[in-house]
């Protein structure tokens, strides 16, 4: 059962990667990266159980935090680009 769930997660990660490469706008790509990150959290937890080493859960905690911070970072800085080129500063 765990192995079936792990395979399903791998399939979803491939789907997210396709969307990240394909997505026409920036926000599609950020969405795909965010989704990839949460699926990685699940993948690491499941792999930890499948391989019998529950120390992986520390990595899963770090991953969810890092995923959050990266998405917030991208969104915080994505609004600055075109506005900077058009000569207007907006915080």
């Amino acid at each position: 059962m765990l192995i079936a769930a792990t395979l399903a997660i791998l399939v979803v990660m491939i789907m997210a990667t396709i969307r990240a490469v394909m997505g026409p706008t920036l926000y599609d790509r950020v969405l795909a990266v965010n989704m990839f990150g949460t699926k990685t959290v699940l993948l690491i937890s499941l792999l930890g159980f499948v391989m019998g080493r529950p120390e992986f859960l520390d990595i899963a905690i770090v991953y969810s935090l890092i995923n959050f911070i990266s998405v917030i970072g991208v969104l915080r800085y994505s609004g600055h680009f075109t506005l900077k080129q058009s000569g207007e500063q907006k915080k």
Binding site: M1, R19, T25, L26, E88
Partner: protein, 112 residues
């Protein structure tokens, strides 16, 4: 009792897998950014919670359960907030709400 726990853990894992598979299909096939966001944002949190609950039931060790509960709580906090932040940024930068038939790589600046 033991088989009940096993069965419920398996059922939760199955529901979780189904949910995020449907979220993944949604993100590939929906026509517009906002609809994709809806597919992913809703199913992702719920699927993660289901799978983590299934893992908690599957496992008797206390320390591991505490860490799984920590991941669950953090996902419940983080995942909806990230979806909100993404949708907010998209609205704030006036991303178009129609089907995207032409790729546009520029983020449109918002009207003052």
């Amino acid at each position: 009792m033991d088989t009940l726990v096993n069965i419920s853990s398996t059922v939760l894992l199955l529901i979780g897998s189904f949910l995020f598979l449907s979220g993944g299909i949604g993100v590939l096939r929906f026509p517009d950014f906002y609809t994709r966001m809806h597919a992913v944002g809703v199913t992702e949190t719920l699927a993660t919670s289901m799978i983590l609950l299934g893992l908690i039931l599957h496992n008797p060790d206390f320390m591991v359960d505490v860490k799984l509960i920590i991941i669950l709580l953090m996902t419940l906090f983080i995942s909806p907030t990230a979806s909100h932040a993404l949708a907010n940024a998209a609205i704030h930068n006036d991303l178009s709400k129609q089907k995207d038939d032409k790729p546009d790589d520029e983020v449109k600046p918002s009207n003052p």
